[in-house]
Amino acid sequence: MQRDMHKDIHIQRYLPEENAEPFWQTFQVPYDDTTSILDVLNYIKEELDPTLSFRWSCRMAICGSCGYMVNGIPKLGCKDFVRNYPSALRIGPLAHFTVERDLMVAMDEFLDHLEAVKPYLINEPQDKQAPHRQTPAQLAKYKQFSNCINCGLCYAACPQFGLNPEFVGPGAIALAHRYNLDSRDQGQGQRMPILNSHDGVWSCTFVGFCSDVCPKGVDPAAAVNQGKVESAKSMLIQMFRGGA
């Protein structure tokens, strides 16, 4: 393993009380083959500049807190390594979100969309004491989409969300789809109006970059576009019923 190497790390800073505009700052940081982007940020905060602000928690790609743009691509800081970047390394806040300070973005837009699609089991069990039964085949239908950790990388990858923040977006639609596919759920009727709307599944043009950057292999683009099939079915059924 190579040790004692140093690298220039360019970080996009935003300190609203000092400067109204974001600016780039360069730090020299030691690294080896095991140094993650998050390690770099922690080194800077502990050794070089304690004013650097960024979110992180678990260090093992499950909390979804440490999403940043690394050389323009959304990445989890804990799951991406300095060794992957032999040339320049530029770290910025997640794209398309409002930046509050340095690498910290306001996740409210994503969370509002997430809340709107009711990402939880909706059902009225006859017997509240009885367990929810599900076969492995029923589980397999939605399992992939349930791996979402709400990190927001897919939103930072989605140009449609960047152009129209009202777009419900890949992550929230993937979770709506996950519950729609769940055999225990009866809430599809409540979720379809928002998925059918202009800012629902139909705002997606299948750029597909959301699935490329997803750190958990959820494939939100597939969920959104499977949602289009469901949305078309639901709209047709409504048409034949004569309801709006």
Partner: protein, 126 residues
């Protein structure tokens, strides 16, 4: 206090992935030209002079060039479409998921079958 970055008009030039996406979307442009040419052909059936003028137009090298581009563009679009299809319409037979590669191969087999049929129908000359 906060700031919200805006997406510039050149966002799609920033990354290889976005350029490939825009190329996929742009395949419609030569196809629009092909469709307009064919529509003009239908209208030219009104008279013999118009039809021969249309035939002359269709034989121009630059028109053949754009139509050849339309063929390449639609094949590229088919390539991207076939790759995305198994993700949008996953097929389950019993408890087994049909492998994506099989679905892609099936679609290409269908494309080749249609092309062979058209060659057989129209390729034999008079």
């Amino acid at each position: 206090m906060s700031y919200k970055p805006t997406l510039s008009g050149s966002w799609w030039l920033q990354h290889r992935f976005f350029r490939a996406y825009m190329l996929r979307e742009a395949t419609v442009l030569p196809l629009v030209f092909l469709i307009c040419s064919l529509l003009a052909g239908v209208y030219s059936l009104a008279s013999l002079e118009q039809f021969s003028a249309w035939q002359e137009f269709m034989a121009k090298p630059w028109v053949i060039g754009i139509h050849a581009l339309a063929l390449l563009a639609s094949l590229y679009h088919a390539l991207t479409f076939f790759q995305l299809f198994p993700r949008v319409m996953p097929i389950r037979l019993g408890n087994k998921q049909v492998p994506a590669i099989l679905m892609v191969a099936g679609q290409w087999a269908g494309t080749v079958a249609v092309m062979v049929m058209f060659l057989w129908l129209f390729g034999g000359g008079a």
